[in-house]
């Protein structure tokens, strides 16, 4: 009897881990892209996720711009529409704020400008979070779709175990995979992707080769914001959120990015998937309040125990 429940729980944790993990993966790509190309730790990434959620919310539920698409297609199209919005927002943020403390301006300065970048992105995070409270209020909202309360039932499988596949999460999962593939193809096979990777590898050399590094960074930052916003829009279909939601996810994002090896953009995806698994499995044994604490502990363990994947001292020449 207990065994049956256990098997059912484990199977459900696995499926939820895969679906949620891939959405986390997409979210992590956004942060990983910004870090991988610009070497900036963007503190405000959680708030960009939040903006993605609210963008989708206003397009679909509140503003009804996309309500003609119906409750089935609307939320997911809305999530995708968050991308261009946040891409422009990100590009503007970069143009007016981030570029002043990063890029070629800080090459060779005292700490490569890390101090300034962390502080400016912290400031952006504070403004977006609290400004969000002013604009959107602090009552939890959600993007309504009937899919979030429907599920495919698979089974009964072994020992009568049934797996529940939430339809909203399943569609979100496919959209996340699609977005990740599109980004992969763009970065690997297009001229733009090449320029971005060159700017990441050696900004000074890329400049000499005629690449507009500042523009490349602006696009990278915009892309990073847009990708995370899509993930936010997707998540908005199955969770409720407030302007402070970014905080719960920012550590998940960092865990994924660090786990995937900082600097590797698609490593971040797999890192996100892993974190999704850890979260779902910790739900089997831990009370709900401690699940987030468990992720922080995992994050600390990753950072502390896997230093070889991290840049820093080993790359330093004496």
């Amino acid at each position: 009897m207990d065994l049956e429940i256990l098997i059912e729980n484990v199977l459900n944790a696995v499926t939820a881990g895969i679906t949620i993990g891939c959405i986390y993966g997409l979210m992590c790509i956004g942060l990983g892209l910004i870090f991988g190309i610009m070497r900036i730790v963007n503190f405000a990434q959680g708030e960009l996720l939040m903006l993605g959620m609210f963008a989708s919310f206003y397009l679909v539920s509140e503003g009804r711009v996309l309500s003609f698409l119906g409750p089935y297609w609307g939320p997911f199209i809305g999530a995708m529409c968050a991308a261009p919005l946040l891409f422009s927002g990100g590009a503007l943020l970069h143009k007016f704020l981030i570029s002043r403390v990063s890029g070629l301006r800080t090459v060779g300065s005292l700490d490569e400008g890390h101090f300034g970048q962390l502080v400016v992105t912290l400031g952006i995070s504070l403004i977006l979070q609290n400004g969000g409270q002013i604009l959107f209020g602090s009552t939890p909202v959600a993007v309504r779709t009937p899919l979030s309360s429907e599920a495919f039932l698979i089974g009964p499988l072994y020992h009568g175990a049934t797996v529940f596949l939430n339809k909203a999460k399943l569609v979100a999962f496919f959209v996340a995979i699609l977005a990740a593939v599109v980004l992969y193809v763009t970065l690997e096979y297009t001229r733009l992707g090449k320029a971005l990777r060159a700017a990441a590898d050696n900004p000074t050399a890329a400049t000499y080769m005629g690449i507009d590094v500042d523009r490349a960074y602006r696009i990278a930052f915009g892309l990073g914001c847009g990708i995370t916003a899509v993930a936010g829009g997707l998540m908005a279909t199955y969770i409720s959120f407030t302007p402070f939601v970014g905080f719960d996810y920012v550590i998940i994002m960092y865990s994924g990015v660090v786990l995937g090896g900082m600097g590797s953009i698609f490593g971040a995806f797999w890192g996100g998937v892993t974190v999704g698994f850890v979260q779902q499995f910790s739900a089997l044994i831990l009370p709900p309040q401690l699940q987030n604490a468990a992720i922080f502990v995992v994050f600390l363990m990753i950072v502390l125990l896997r230093p070889q994947g991290l840049f820093g001292r080993s790359a330093e020449r004496a």
Partner: protein
């Protein structure tokens, strides 16, 4: 105390006394209870900023999770009243102890990380504690009222007494901060912030100083949190462990002036009343306005005056090239009256001073240093030459503990060198300079050199005397008050040499000291090196400039692909065909022989 600390301390303490008295007098005339609360909160947040500044300002270890300590203080004070009936007069010191212990527990693993990783990991601690507190059911804990014996429980019906206490706590924090700034503690932190590896190579135990700064910082943070809980009476996880709390410390300090005692005070005095007033006036329509104001404040300050208000205003007012964090440095005194340098007791060497045997170090498949053996006798100058990528710098890095060796041994006067940390090797009497000069660019030259003297464990007076002597020895004494960032390449090289000499080394490892110097500059430096050698210091020098090496070195060790290709007298080595082949290629050799 550091050089020039006396007048600096006296001036700052006077300012501190005047400011506190004026503040208190003004506070006595305020009767509106809301403004009284703000007047109490300003010193509390200033104290928390002071706490953050010690770790992140002076030491440069950026922490976004200082709320850990604030919250620990707040919960310790509140819970100890509730469960043990312990008065906050004792609860706050208890919070300090727990805050200090938490700092050790947090620092021990986290100081393995640097830069981004350190900042991010620090962020995770308060958030993890926040969730645990919620889980334990401490969502909202209120301080029980003790009307009977208010004083015993730090409970006053007169709110101005809280303001007085807050100011006293802040004065304590500022004094601690001043003492740190003006002692070797502060100099070590500033050096670590500007170049950690250089500080280690100069004998500074970076890990220990960072840990000390975190502990002091954690204790002060807990005091601020504990007192805050006493004043506000209600503690929730979000209000003491939340992100806005950590941000508050960062914001007030950066705004006011990072790595300055006055920074957090100025920042808190401006931002706390501003944010609180806006919150009170507009909070109903614009909830969260406080956070927006803080966000705008730090972005604006970062873009307009990245070091904070204090430094910008000071530079405007005094328009001098004042190195930050340091009082003026007059020209160094003549060392004539100083006793001759006390060389480490050099027992008549039975064997060689440095003995390297079978040393190897690989990076993945690349054997950068491979079974290298050589020895250096006392008083000798050994030249290490070889083509680029021959493993010369790696050899030095292994010898002074920057890198670990895969196998082999190295002994200084019979004592094993390998397996020690960089600063320990330095304290054995091994000085080091770097291929790319590693200075502390914002510190004056004299302080740069004093770091080396402190590293050797000298007392304050001795350290200053040794540093002055070392500067005279290399001929830089007239530049001692200038920030290192303004020196020319040759002066930087000499300063780095002086920093190594200030620790009274027996052996100097010099990595391309002549690189990038013109012919005449090169001759000057060679002259200095000859003088250093005449005083009995043994030197290993890596160098490419052959004409200089021929004049300087007694013996050569030639490295190629990590192996020792030849050893011997310069004349002999340069005629060696394998050496010529390694440097100039087989073709050249064939043509010469033809």
């Amino acid at each position: 105390m550091r050089q020039g600390a006396g007048p600096h301390l006296r001036r700052n303490l006077t300012v501190l006394a005047v400011v506190s008295v004026v503040y208190l007098v003004v506070a006595m005339f305020v009767t509106n209870s809301y403004y009284q609360l703000i007047l109490t909160l300003v010193p509390v947040w200033a104290l928390f900023g002071v706490s953050w500044n010690i770790l992140s300002g002076y030491g440069g270890q950026l922490s976004f999770g200082h709320a850990s300590f604030f919250g620990i203080g707040a919960y310790t004070v509140t819970l100890s009243v509730i469960y043990w009936g312990l008065s906050p007069w004792l609860g706050i010191p208890l919070g300090m102890v727990i805050g200090g212990l938490a700092a050790i527990a947090i620092g021990f693993p986290t100081f393995r990380l640097r830069g981004h990783y350190f900042a991010l990991s620090m962020l995770a601690y308060p958030l993890a504690i926040l969730y645990v507190m919620q889980y334990l059911g401490f969502q909202e804990v209120s301080m029980p009222m003790q009307r009977e014996n208010g004083f015993r429980f730090m409970e006053f019906s007169e709110p101005r007494i809280y303001t007085l206490l807050a100011v006293l706590l802040l004065v304590g924090g500022v004094v601690v901060s001043l003492i740190i700034e003006n002692s070797r503690f502060g100099l070590a932190l500033l050096a670590i912030r500007q170049n950690e590896l250089a500080a280690e190579a100069a004998g500074i135990n970076a890990r220990l100083w960072k840990m000390r700064s975190l502990v002091v910082s954690g204790m002060l943070g807990a005091v601020a949190g504990g007192f805050y809980a006493r004043v506000l009476l209600v503690v929730t996880p979000d209000s003491v462990f939340g992100m806005l709390v950590s941000a508050q410390a960062v914001v007030v300090t950066l705004f006011g002036g990072v790595a300055s005692v006055w920074g957090p005070v100025i920042g808190a005095a401006i931002l706390v009343p501003l944010a609180e007033t806006l919150q009170a006036e507009l909070g109903t329509y614009l909830p969260g306005i406080q956070g927006v104001v803080y966000g705008i404040a730090i972005i604006a300050i970062m873009l307009l005056s990245p070091d904070g208000l204090f430094w910008t205003v000071r530079d405007r007012l005094f328009r001098r090239e004042a190195p930050r964090g340091v009082s003026d440095v007059g020209p160094a005194a003549e060392p004539a009256a100083l006793p001759p340098p006390t060389r480490r007791a050099s027992a008549p060497a039975a064997g060689p001073l440095l003995q390297v045997e079978g040393l190897s170090r690989a990076f993945g498949g690349l054997r950068a240093v491979s079974e290298v053996s050589f020895s250096v006798t006392e008083g000798e100058i050994l030249g290490i030459i070889g083509p680029n990528g021959a493993g010369k710098t790696t050899l030095f890095n292994v010898l002074n503990g920057v890198l670990t060796a895969d196998e082999g041994a190295a002994r200084l006067d019979g004592q094993a060198m390998l397996g020690r940390k960089t600063f320990e090797v330095c304290r054995m009497g091994v000085g080091r300079t770097f291929q790319v000069v590693r200075s502390f660019p914002r510190l004056p030259v004299l302080d740069n050199v004093i770091v080396g003297a402190y590293g050797a464990g000298l007392s304050d007076r001795e350290a200053i005397a040794e540093a002055v002597r070392a500067l005279h020895q290399v001929g830089l004494h007239d530049r001692s008050g200038v920030a290192a960032g303004q020196l020319t390449n040759k002066q930087l090289r000499l300063m780095e040499l002086a920093r190594a000499l200030a620790g009274n080394p027996r052996l100097l490892l010099l990595d391309e000291t002549l690189a990038g110097l013109g012919r005449e500059e090169c001759d000057d430096v060679l002259g200095v090196l000859a003088r250093v050698r005449a005083q009995g210091v043994t030197i290993c020098i890596i160098e490419h400039t052959m004409h200089a090496m021929m004049r300087l070195a007694d013996r050569f060790v030639v490295l190629d692909h990590g192996r020792v290709l030849a050893t011997g007298l310069p004349r002999v080595v340069v005629e060696d065909t394998s050496v010529i082949e390694a440097y100039l290629g087989k073709k050249w050799l064939a043509r010469r022989d033809a």
